[in-house]
């Protein structure tokens, strides 16, 4: 199939960017979206132009490196997958595809489609952990039974890959879904309850410092999340936060 790509090109963080059009021919349905970009880049290099910079690594939907706003949706039109799992058969001959970076003030652009998501890192560093030493000298793994449904719920929250699609999809560029996934995972486990109060306060404080927007419960994040992280996590974080404030 033949396509027209409109891609955001920006030299570096300070430069002014613009959309540039690239016609593509002979795109196969079996190609993944990123493989299609590989082909474009190979062409550009052969023509002596600079290839389009984009983030990617595992190309199997788990590392969370790939991003891209494709036709106005993070990770493209398909649901529950990342950009690297999107295949060109989802598009039709003659389509124009608009490709932009994930946009948020907290995600400054590094180059072209590559953004800096360190803000998410700092949220995790502020409290996304359980304070135990890694000596291995802890209680036996089976010493504290955990109800299966709680463990499963914690697992569902823990599947977040930290790609930032929730922020990109949110009209407010809010990072609540991301933050709440980690808060939830630990809040649901007895090991994490011990410091639940400090954790939620510290992580939310950092989230706010990073300049993400406010959550207005539009639910866009949940729909676009490649791992289907539920809005229930945000509600749980709100509860955790309020109870932390009440407890002081």
């Amino acid at each position: 199939m033949n396509l027209v790509l409109k891609i955001w090109r920006q030299e570096n963080a300070e430069a002014k960017g613009k959309m540039v059009e690239y016609p593509m021919s002979n795109v196969e349905g079996d190609m993944s979206f990123l493989e299609m970009l590989d082909v474009l880049n190979e062409d550009l290099i052969n023509k002596g132009e600079e290839p389009v910079a984009f983030d990617h690594d595992c190309r199997e939907g788990i590392c969370g490196t790939c991003s891209l706003m494709i036709n106005g949706e993070p990770h493209g039109p398909d649901r529950l997958i990342t950009t690297c799992q999107l295949h060109m058969r989802k598009f039709s001959d003659g389509d124009t595809i608009v490709i932009e970076p994930f946009r948020a003030t907290a995600f400054p652009i590094i180059k072209d489609l590559v953004v800096d998501r360190n803000a998410l890192e700092r949220i995790q560093q502020a409290g996304g952990f359980i304070s135990v030493n890694t000596s291995g000298n802890t209680v036996d793994a089976n010493a504290i039974p955990i109800a299966k449904d709680k463990a499963d719920e914690a697992m569902d929250a823990a599947t977040c890959i930290g790609c930032g699609a929730c922020v990109a999809a949110c009209k407010n560029a809010s990072a609540m879904l991301f933050t709440s996934a980690k808060v939830s995972q630990f809040a649901l486990l007895p090991q994490g309850r011990v410091e639940a109060t400090d954790r939620v306060m510290n992580m939310v404080r950092q989230m706010d410092l990073e300049g993400f927007g406010n959550c207005t419960n539009t639910g866009a994040c949940e729909v676009e999340c490649p791992k289907g992280i539920s809005l229930e996590n945000i509600a749980r974080m709100n509860r955790e936060y309020m109870s932390a404030i009440v407890k002081g």
């Binding site: 949706e73 706010d208 993400f212 406010n214 945000i234 309020m242």
Partner: protein
């Protein structure tokens, strides 16, 4: 107040609490108003109670006004912060693919309702305050029905009211359930609770619209 400015979750909670308070108030308001459709006397009686009961007047009314102001001011602050959180906009943003129009445009429905409130205050509240406290008229427990009916005679006002209630409905459609989510109430009952909030968002504005239209056309037919 400092914490409120700094903490996004606290802002959400205050937004939700003030919103829920207004939701409650609307239920009371529509119930009282609806009596005007079938019983002018009952309407007069209830209105007089609300107008002269000191608890309502000097405790509930200021709280309500504060609630309204808080809700609006915070709503506008949130909107400004949210637009700052994405300083460069997308060339293409398909918001409709993952969220409803109403949920994304609370500021629009909110501002329309705010503008409407201006008219509404001018029509009823300023009039009441002037009547009671500026001109210090004597109590008249029978005046309310007639005053209300008079307001709905002009076509333009009725149309504005209907449009405003329609947008209020849209605001409630997202706002009511959203405030519950903000308060952290999302559990196995959410599906039924959400259905209730949607029903509420339909019935309450519909009630107001019916009242406005009823008085407008009832007058015409007389």
């Amino acid at each position: 107040m400092g914490a409120l400015i700094k903490s996004s979750i606290l802002r959400k909670v205050v937004m939700a609490l003030s919103g829920l308070f207004l939701v409650l108030f609307l239920a009371l308001h529509v119930t009282i108003n609806f009596t005007s459709v079938f019983s002018p006397d009952l309407f007069n009686e209830l209105s007089h109670f609300m107008g002269y009961n000191p608890v309502v007047q000097f405790l509930m009314q200021p709280i309500l006004i504060l609630g309204v102001i808080l809700h609006f001011v915070l709503g506008i602050v949130l909107e400004i912060q949210n637009s700052r959180a994405r300083s460069v906009n997308y060339a293409q943003f398909k918001g409709g693919a993952n969220a409803s129009w109403v949920s994304r445009n609370m500021i629009i429905s909110g501002l329309v309702v705010l503008a409407f409130l201006g008219l509404h205050f001018y029509d009823f509240w300023i009039h009441e305050i002037t009547f009671k406290y500026v001109e210090s008229n004597p109590e008249d427990p029978t005046r309310y029905y007639e005053e209300t009916v008079q307001k709905f005679i002009p076509m333009w006002r009725t149309v504005i009211y209907v449009i405003a209630f329609f947008l209020l409905g849209m605001h409630l459609w997202h706002g009511f359930s959203s405030s519950l989510q903000s308060m952290g109430w999302n559990n196995k009952y959410t599906v039924s609770i959400k259905a209730f909030t949607k029903l509420y968002a339909l019935i309450v504005p519909a009630g107001f619209i019916i009242i406005a239209l009823y008085h407008h056309f009832n007058h015409l037919s007389q």
